[in-house]
Amino acid sequence: MKQNILPAIRLTIVCMVFFMGVYTLIIWLPAQAAPGKGKGETVMANNRIVGWKLLGQKFTDDQYFWSRPSVVDYHADGSGGSNKGPTNPDYLKQVQDRIDTFLVHNPGIQKTDIPSDLVTASGAGLDPHISVQGAYVQVKRVASARSISEAKVKALVDQHIEKPLLGLFGTERVNVLQLNIDLESLK
């Protein structure tokens, strides 16, 4: 113990300087050249910042495509998931309520067309995406709320489908914020 304590303290101090200081700098410096300069990339529309590129935000108006449910209401300074178990009765009732609400706002839509991502909360409560099916199923509502033809809205959704990585790996999805920004300029 005795012959170890001094080297232990000295080595700890060296590690603090190097891994808290030098290592952090080694990452911080090149990050200044990254998009957003390491501060986070924002998205502009109509000359103002309307969001962050990577972060989902709350969309509940009928004229917008809705984001997924979020238990933290899309607060990006206190993110989190529901942590509800798959058989929890309260949770299942909540999902049922979301389905009912969705059907009320989307007349003419079959229940079987609603994909589960639209009625379940995401892991961090900040999911920027919905599934492709989740976008298609909202086309009718958005089109009628904006009095634009469904075909045009659907074409816009098609433009916003993000393919799997290299077309091979992962999921297809739609970024809700980007879609809604472009929706604003659709005539």
Partner: protein, 583 residues
């Protein structure tokens, strides 16, 4: 007719998704192994002191470390000296961490004005990070300052390196020779930090930073959303920490929801990079073993057993998650992706289940989806991964756990054929077996006794502890079982619905983490040290071969029996009962 068309379209579409999702996880695994084999050779060379291509830069750096610390890295140590050095420096870290976490509020680098931790939470967090567990009873955005985050990041380097150094001492003891000298702890420790963790961390952190993960010191940002809500965004030096959290099988996230957070894990590419980082070094360590003791076949046997176990858990998890939650299926909506509660669309259920299994078999504990919301049997895969805790396992310590199972398997095989059990030319006798048996039983004891205590308290006073559980019934039991399993496996993931920031959970889990970290390091190092001193007996016709498939099956059987027999009753009360209750 239209209906059929539509159904076919959806089916087609979901098949495409399924294929790309499955392709994604196969790609990840193949790439991981392809990287781990050369990395293993590199790691072997580093510890043996052979030449490597990074020497030019890193020789001088190591020299500075040793010079400033007054350490002679060439001084040989026996197993007891190794352990003394390891335990002493860990004690220093414990004190350092307690001091910082309890005083963060007034120390520098606190732009968001986050508070200091109370003693019980600081104890839990300190033990958690010193022990390489990274169980988090606080939330990153609101619970620690940037200085706190950087301190925790420091522990992600040095606690990982501690495990690796202990593991290398065991490697050195397994060589064909009789010796007391197992190399120098500080030498292995510093080289693990500077030559293995650091270069990889720099690469991963830069990939993350260039994909949008924050790396700044400026405090929260603010914006007004399209619907007019004011939103605050937490940021900070995240990229640096996330890289090492994955590589060192630490798992402690920068943000509360860990790598499910879009800033912590921005897209499918970063998901691949982070997920590979989780199991890269644990697999590479196995190949490093083959290099150091010059027994490639033995390393492949170890790799084979680990991989078999990993695949079994993986199939179960991926199948169940992609299948969706039957209770939601009954509501009449479609589940084209699968079970989506607690998951992110950019990853989907397959990549989430793959992450779930990799993070629990390796004692990493970072998550990209909420484990509490997984379907029951997929949740059981996570539990089993941590209960076995040696299918790849944590950096360094995973192999130490596996070593215990090998010793037991050698002993049982020896008894079965009526010979003195020998392992790599060394006789295994009563003393080593006693240590091995105690360490093998420690893990079930800590988990089951802890869960029993918590269940007892909850059952006898459900109103006082009502805030503990986020879910009723069997799933609530699983939440408690998971918390103790995660603590004892030094994993750090959670069924996060558990209201765990209370004195009971902070202290109980802290104690479990402490015991489950250091005893399973002391045990294998002691066994290896004792064996190394024994006379080396050259192989003969009567020697039990430990690099064969037969022996691999034997080790797997030992693992299966120890894990299944000890934990099956608890699993029956938790996930299995929940599964059968669903229909």
């Amino acid at each position: 007719m239209l209906c059929i068309d539509k159904a076919r379209k959806i089916l087609n579409q979901s098949q495409v998704i399924m294929t790309t999702e499955i392709a994604g996880i196969i790609f990840m695994y193949v790439l991981t192994v392809a990287l781990a084999i050369p990395l293993g050779r590199y790691i072997g060379r580093v510890y043996e002191g052979d030449k490597t291509w990074l020497d030019k830069i890193l020789h001088p750096l190591d020299k500075i470390f040793f010079k400033l610390s007054g350490i002679n890295p060439a001084k040989e140590m026996n197993w007891k000296q190794h352990l003394m050095a390891l335990l002493t420096i860990n004690l220093v870290w414990f004190i350092l961490s307690m001091l910082i976490l309890m005083n963060m509020s007034w120390l520098p680098l606190n732009p968001d004005g986050n508070p200091s931790m109370p003693a019980d939470l600081a104890f839990n967090t300190t033990v958690s990070f010193v022990s390489n567990t990274n169980l988090q009873h606080y939330s990153g955005e609101t619970g620690v300052s940037y200085l706190g985050q950087l301190t925790l990041m420091l522990f992600q380097f040095i606690s990982a390196a501690t495990g690796m150094a202990a593991c290398v001492a065991v490697f050195m003891a397994m060589k064909e020779r009789t010796t007391e000298n197992l190399g120098n702890f500080y030498n292995f420790f510093v080289k693990s930090c500077t030559r293995i963790l650091l270069p990889l961390a720099i690469v991963v952190a830069l990939i993350l930073a260039f994909n949008g993960t924050p790396m700044n010191f400026e405090g929260k940002a603010q914006y007004i959303s399209m619907q007019g809500d004011t939103v605050h965004v937490s940021r900070g030096p995240a990229a640096a920490m996330i890289a090492i959290k994955q590589l060192g099988t630490n798992g402690g996230g920068y943000y509360g929801p860990n790598s499910a957070h879009p800033l912590e894990n921005p897209n499918y590419l970063t998901n691949i990079v982070e997920n590979i980082s989780i199991i890269l070094i644990p697999i590479a360590m196995v190949f490093a073993l083959g290099y150091i003791i010059k027994r490639r076949r033995f390393a492949w046997m170890v790799f084979g057993v680990m991989t078999l176990g990993f695949f079994l858990l993986l199939f179960n998890a991926v199948y169940n998650e992609m299948h969706g939650n039957p209770m939601i299926g009954q509501m009449g909506i479609s589940q084209p992706l699968g079970s989506m509660e607690g998951k992110e669309v950019r990853f989907g259920p397959a990549a989430s289940a793959y992450w779930e299994v990799t993070t629990t078999v390796t004692s990493n504990g970072s998550v990209n989806a909420m484990h509490d919301s997984f379907t029951p049997l997929a949740g059981m895969s996570a539990l089993l991964g941590m209960m076995v805790n040696s299918f790849y396992g944590g950096v360094g310590v995973g192999y130490l756990n596996f070593y215990i199972f090998i010793i037991i398997a050698v002993f049982i095989s020896g008894l079965m054929v009526g010979r003195t059990p020998e392992f790599l030319g060394k006789k295994i006798e009563a003393k080593e077996m006693k240590i091995a048996a105690l360490i093998a039983l420690l893990h079930p004891l800590l988990i089951l006794a802890g869960t029993a205590l918590a269940s007892y308290l909850f059952a006898h006073n459900p109103s006082a502890y009502a805030d503990w559980l986020n879910n009723p019934g069997n799933h609530g039991f699983s939440e408690m079982l998971y918390e103790f399993t995660s603590s004892s496996a030094n994993n750090g993931s959670g069924f996060e619905g558990l209201g765990d920031n209370t004195p009971f959970w902070n202290i109980a889990c802290g104690t479990v983490m402490l015991l489950a970290r250091f005893l399973p390091i002391i045990g294998p190092v002691a066994i290896a040290g004792i064996l190394a001193k024994k006379k080396y007996i050259p192989e003969s016709a009567g020697t039990l071969k430990t690099d064969t498939n037969t022996f691999g099956v034997m080790v797997f059987a030992v693992i299966f029996i120890v894990a299944a027999l000890s934990f099956f009753p608890a699993l029956t009360l938790g996930p299995i009962a929940e599964f059968f209750g669903m229909k």
